[in-house]
């Protein structure tokens, strides 16, 4: 299967130009107009992106236990299009016009109040931008997102244009692990929330395989080594899209402190990754169409794709 590519070789969900056009149309035409646009956009991407279509089929087959027809795949593509559109509104106007329920806020606030900083670990499920709502409600707590600026130019441009405060506070992963860990530690000393996504590894980043939806999938170990170094409370964070204008932002305590003894890194990492993967699975069951990893998630390191 020559189409099996590393996710980093996949294009970002849209070109910078497309993002700019959609941003313009959406902000001038409003969300209702933008949502209408998303139907042809969904169909366009569905027809044009073979690799993403295969990834969707593979994922949905694992979730539902049978090969999906086009309808569930279209639903997944459409959810991705809508949440991508909603990013623009969430970043530009916060929660205005949305119905966003927050679960686990008390747990999060208790840990923020400790003043040591917190690490929020998410995934490419739903909308991480729903977090923006929180930073609007708690402007006193800085939010610093770890993002590889060189790999996500369209997203970076969007952030810097619509939410300059969040954009300026991005910790750029392209500058290397030493930069990320020092910047994250400085942020935590100020009591900040540091947020990152932990379900995609860089091509040369260390990863380990754990069971996910019935087959081994490679997950990056970096986020957990970071948690170990920071010694701050870790919460999982998901911004699930529920349809219409509804989102559910979930904060789930994961560990008061992640400890990875140097001599037992392997087993300690496997235990953490397994727990993380189990929680991803849980939210896959809660919101199956929120899965936005449109690449072969079960690809083995050598580039040899796992068969379904």
């Amino acid at each position: 299967m020559s189409e099996a590519r590393h996710w980093r070789q996949h294009r970002e969900g849209g070109s910078r130009f497309a993002y700019r056009v959609i941003r313009l149309l959406a902000l001038h035409g409003g969300r209702r107009f933008g949502r209408l646009l998303m139907y042809p956009v969904t169909l366009y991407f569905f027809l044009r992106r073979g690799a993403e279509r295969r990834a969707s089929r593979q994922y949905l087959a694992r979730v539902f236990g049978r090969s999906p027809g086009p309808w569930p795949m279209l639903r997944q593509f459409h959810a991705y299009a809508v949440t991508t559109l909603d990013r623009i509104f969430l970043l530009a106007h916060g929660e205005r016009g949305f119905a966003i329920e927050i679960e686990g806020l008390a747990e999060l606030e208790r840990r923020i109040a400790e003043g040591r900083g917190v690490l929020l670990v998410g995934s490419h499920q739903g909308s991480f931008e729903a977090l923006r709502v929180l930073s609007a409600r708690r402007p006193d707590v800085p939010l610093r997102v770890v993002l590889d600026k060189s790999r996500t130019p369209a997203m970076t441009e969007l952030l810097e244009a619509l939410a300059p405060d969040v954009g300026a506070a991005v910790i750029d992963a392209a500058q290397g692990g030493a930069h990320v860990v020092l910047a994250a530690a400085e942020a935590c000393r100020q009591g900040a929330m540091v947020a990152l996504l932990a379900d995609r590894a860089g091509e040369h980043e260390a990863q380990r395989a754990v069971d996910f939806l019935g087959a081994p999938a490679q997950l990056p170990v970096g986020p957990w080594l970071l948690a170990n170094a920071l010694k701050v409370p870790v919460l999982l964070c998901f911004g699930l899209y529920l349809g219409g204008n509804r989102y559910r932002l979930v904060f789930e305590p994961f560990a008061e402190r992640v400890a990875i003894p140097r001599g037992q890194r392997g087993p300690a990492l496997d235990a953490l990754l397994t727990r993380y993967a189990q929680r991803l699975e849980h939210y896959v069951r809660v919101a199956p169409y929120n899965w936005f990893n449109f690449h072969d998630f079960w690809q083995r390191p050598g580039g040899d794709p796992a068969s379904v």
């Binding site: 692990g177 030493a178 020092l182 530690a185 400085e186 970096g222 170990n228």
Partner: protein, 90 residues
Amino acid sequence: MAELTPAQHELATLIVESLNLEAVDPAKIDPDAPLFGGELGLDSIDALEIALAVSKRYGFQLRSDHPDNQRIFASLRGLSTFVEAHRASG
């Protein structure tokens, strides 16, 4: 392999002790070998522990926004050069 200078040896000892690298002899660290991802078994994330140990011992901060961080953390030689240039006098 280059012989370690006294400053490099002191820093190597600090790293080995603060990171509990029990199997590593500080005197045998190659000053030009990559600090992270090499034989020491260190990950770039370990930069935080090194930075904390350096600030305690030498009295200055290694900061995330230093433009030369990649060079500073590239090798024992790079880190030692930086430490020697910035350590609190005395």
